[in-house]
């Protein structure tokens, strides 16, 4: 039932897909660039959706299906069932059931230690890196059964990108940061790498600021630029889902605004899940919001609904600042 992600292999797929950013309306740069992507239907979207959502990773499904899959944007991209996670003996996630729709922004809010980051890190199995973590239940991301023994975790992480709380560029040049994932996939062609780096930096609204100093160390960038570089780095490997773990909490208000703008811009192409401490931020950027408390999913609804007419008393108490 799990189609092997290896069958088509990341490298050939990347090679046969069209160049990332050839639309003329994107090359203008400047603030117009951000708006342009929002609503214009892109030729690559059906392709992307087919890859992102439950279509098998075989080369090319028949055309009729690809037409239908363009509409799958609203379908579920990530779903968890009875998902439990233990740190040693401590039950940190107590049976989470959530369906996150594709091509939208979902915010996860809740007080510190409620398990929101842990849940986020489950979607690309980053918790594997922590000793003593055990899980039960299932998570599906698109067609991938995340915890299935046949799942290639490296391929999973390529398709489910992640942006961390603290900007964490590698101490390498800006260019090398952006192409890191591509090199890991085995891409070597210089021109190809450069084209993809430029496209990713444009999508992350960073190109104009760094195009003249791609060879300089990424550590010379400001915090906000570093965070956008991390987003560009994540976009370069063409993920379908982007997980963001408090992506703006270490940034000043201006940089935060840029990141939020970027999130809104990116959701036409990607499924984005944002963990945030900041309820205003959740209200500004997300379509749906999940409220977690002590390892449980208390409420999950459209953002507007959740913030204006929460169905749970706990949610209401939290968003009105009675605790947390």
């Amino acid at each position: 039932m799990v189609s092997s992600p290896r069958s088509s292999g990341p490298v050939p797929r990347a090679a046969e897909s069209p160049p990332l950013e050839t639309q003329p309306n994107e090359s203008g740069g400047g603030p117009g660039e951000l708006r342009s992507g929002g609503d214009a239907p892109r030729p690559t979207v059906p392709d992307r959706a087919r890859e992102a959502l439950p279509a098998p990773a075989t080369k090319r499904p028949e055309d009729g299906e690809s037409r239908g899959s363009a509409r799958r944007e609203a379908e579920v991209a990530i779903s968890t069932r009875e998902y439990r996670l233990f740190y040693g003996h401590l039950l940190a996630l107590k049976g989470i059931d959530i369906d996150i729709p594709g091509h939208s922004v979902t915010a996860i809010i809740g007080p510190s230690g409620c398990g929101k980051s842990t849940l986020l890190r489950s979607f690309n199995r980053m918790n594997d890196l922590i000793a003593g973590v055990r899980t039960e239940g299932t998570i599906r991301v698109g067609s991938i059964d995340v915890f299935d023994s046949s799942t290639d975790v490296v391929e999973l992480r390529r398709r489910v990108g992640m942006v961390f709380q603290r900007p964490n560029p590698f101490p390498k040049s800006i260019f090398e940061n952006v192409v890191f994932g591509l090199r890991a996939l085995g891409l070597k062609d210089r021109g190809d790498l450069e084209a993809r780096a430029e496209a990713s930096l444009r999508r992350a609204a960073l190109w104009d600021e760094v195009k003249d100093r791609l060879r300089r160390s990424a550590l010379q960038l400001s915090g906000g630029q570093q965070q956008r570089l991390c987003i560009a780095r994540c976009l370069a490997v063409e993920p379908e889902v982007i997980l963001m773990d408090e992506p703006a909490s270490a940034l000043d208000p201006t940089a935060t605004a840029k990141i939020e703008e970027l999130i809104l811009h990116l959701k036409s192409r990607y499924t984005i899940v944002v963990v945030t401490h900041n309820m205003q931020q959740a209200a500004r950027v997300s379509d749906r919001t999940a409220f977690m408390l002590a390892g449980e999913l208390i409420e999950y609804d459209r953002t507007k609904q959740l913030f204006t007419r929460p169905s749970q008393k706990l949610t209401e108490d939290y968003i009105t600042g009675r605790f947390g």
Partner: protein, 314 residues
Amino acid sequence: MSSTTWNPFSPLIKSRSHDLTGTGLKALSATAAFLIVAMVAVIMGNIAWFGARTLSWEFLTTAPRQGMTAGGIFPAIFGTLALVVMMIVALVPFGVGAAVYLAEYARPDAWFTRIIRFSINNLAGVPSIVFGLFGLGFFVHFIGRSIDRGLGLDVTWGQPALIWAALTLALLNLPVVIVTTEEALRAVPNDMREASMALGATRWQTVWSVLLPQAAPGILTGAILSISRGAGEVAPIMFTGAAYFLPYLPTSPTDQFMELGYHVFVLATQSPDVDATRPLLYGTVLVLLLLTFALNLVAILLRARLRAQLSGRS
């Protein structure tokens, strides 16, 4: 010192200027610290003073003559450099490999990991003369002779040689490189591992293109320490390859070689004419020190450059 600052508890404490025990201990520890400086100054000064008189172009570029009472030490300089280079080539990949396993792959509490750590700690405690005997028995007699037998050669590999001495020294320095490298790897923030793996890099790709470059300064520290030790150790090489005197330079890894530390030992203990040898002895020691400093300096400069790169300053 701090008698002017207000201290609510001061009536309970004896005035510090009358704290005889404290003053005495402070004097003792200062003396100990000073003695170290004094000893280094005496050793270095003595060697530099007498050694400098012997140093000359001829001394550096010719071979010993007249039963080592005249001539230079070029073969020993050459042999030392060859030995250190070969040692580093064997040592760094092996030591870094072991450190990567320990820091990135091994489960810290597994019994196998404990055995590895136990072995490394013990290896670090083995006297160097034992390494020499081990090198003779294992590398020269066992490995070397097996190669000869396997290839149907006369005694070629199965005798003391540059390569066996270098490997013995590498073994001696292995714990140093493993420990410094492992610490350098552990000092790389976990952010970096997560960033790399989240981009779809495999564990090995993460090690190779993220962690090792960032640990490179630490690895160089290990290399620096081993160079200093490797260039000066005599015991491990006297059975495994160093020669008393050779009329030619080593041209293959299976040749024997002269080495500065061993040459010092020979000049100091085996000379037919002690007075004639003394200036040569001073000169040789000075050259050994300078060579070690120079090798260290190269590694330290390289490390400084790497650090600047990693911190984004270049």
